[in-house]
């Protein structure tokens, strides 16, 4: 009887992991859809209070819906915002995008379209994008360097074409130890012949249930305005990432 029950449980477990049972679509919530690294970084809500001034907020959040298009292709579509009353309207960003991936081992190709606007919708841009990243390569590219050095990195190169053509390069790195995670992501664009860059990073401590306490910072000139910004904050983070 016990053996039969064990066999039944084993069969049920195996059936539950059959590839045909995998969901075709999944929802992810994180810091931004701009890259897988940013999607794994928790979405954050930071509140700031300075004596004599109102309570200010800083929001960085993105959501991504991902589904299969075929055996070697899949599609992502998402929305993101960098907002909150602590940011001037010109430095707030609203964006939406759709992106298709094609695995061409040894590289991954992503082709998509993205809409970005500033907080007042005074500057709006729509661009087609094409990006490439190697699946693997030197130590640490896409995988921990070693069991003792839980550090990995991933480079991307791409081009965005809308009103103008903007080549760009992005490098992300992340590190983890127990409940503590840290990451940094830098992007550099060539806009009308001159360089623009934006770097953001975070250190998060997991509280369980997808919740984190997150210290984050950013500096540089992010699109669409490429206006100089820089800030640091401590807040509450949330992440929903089924695949991880």
């Amino acid at each position: 009887m016990k053996a039969a029950l064990a066999a039944l449980l084993l069969a049920a477990n195996a059936a539950a992991q059959e590839p045909s049972d995998l969901r075709r679509w999944e929802l992810l919530v994180g810091h931004s859809y701009s890259s897988p690294r940013a999607m794994l970084q928790p979405a954050t809500l930071t509140l700031e209070k300075v004596r004599g001034s109102p309570l200010y907020s800083v929001i960085d959040a993105g959501a991504l819906l991902r589904g299969s298009l075929g055996s070697r292709m899949w599609l992502e579509t998402g929305v993101r915002t960098r907002a909150g009353s602590a940011r001037p309207r010109s430095q707030r960003v609203f964006g939406a995008m759709a992106r298709a991936y094609r695995e061409l081992d040894p590289v991954l190709l992503a082709v998509g379209a993205e809409y970005e606007a500033d907080g007042g919708f005074d500057v709006q841009q729509t661009a087609g994008t094409a990006e490439l990243t190697p699946l693997g390569g030197p130590p640490g590219l896409g995988t921990w360097v070693s069991p003792g050095v839980r550090l990995r990195w991933r480079p991307w190169i791409g081009v965005a074409a809308g009103g103008d053509v903007r080549p760009y390069a992005r490098l992300s790195a992340d590190w983890a130890s127990g409940r503590v995670e840290a990451g940094v992501e830098g992007t550099a664009w060539l806009v009308h012949g001159s360089g623009r860059s934006f770097i953001k990073g975070d250190v998060s401590v997991g509280l369980g249930g997808g919740l984190f306490v997150t210290a984050s910072g950013e500096v540089g000139r992010p699109p669409p305005r490429y206006e100089r910004t820089g800030r640091m904050g401590l807040g509450l983070g949330f992440r929903l990432a089924p695949a991880q």
């Binding site: 195996a14 992991q17 590839p19 991954l108 130590p139 050095v149 990995r152 991933r154």
Partner: protein, 94 residues
């Protein structure tokens, strides 16, 4: 128990397991070979990000003659899941 891959080569479940573990070990040069077993978690233990895991597709196609869908590979969590996916894709031999 034996099964056939897409080219008609016969495999035992142990043979598939050994071949898949060998592929994962080759893709994890910084890790001791004995640390990588069926229970090893690709994302949590080896730190593979979601794109690195796609590197298993080509060697599995070349060695085990099985073509895994990317959407399946992207959701695999352990080496054992990968072994099961390959084994399930093979044809039973009467």
């Amino acid at each position: 128990m034996r099964r056939k891959d897409d080219r008609g080569h016969r495999w035992t479940d142990r043979g598939v397991e050994r071949a898949v573990i060998k592929i994962v070990r080759r893709l994890s040069p910084g890790f001791a070979r004995k640390r990588i077993t069926k229970k090893t978690r690709l994302h949590t233990d080896l730190g593979w990000d979601e794109w690195y895991v796609l590197r298993v597709v080509k060697p599995i196609r070349v060695t085990l003659h099985e073509t895994l869908e990317d959407r399946v590979v992207l959701k695999i969590r352990t080496v054992g899941d990968l072994v099961r996916c390959v084994w399930d894709g093979m044809e039973s031999v009467g």
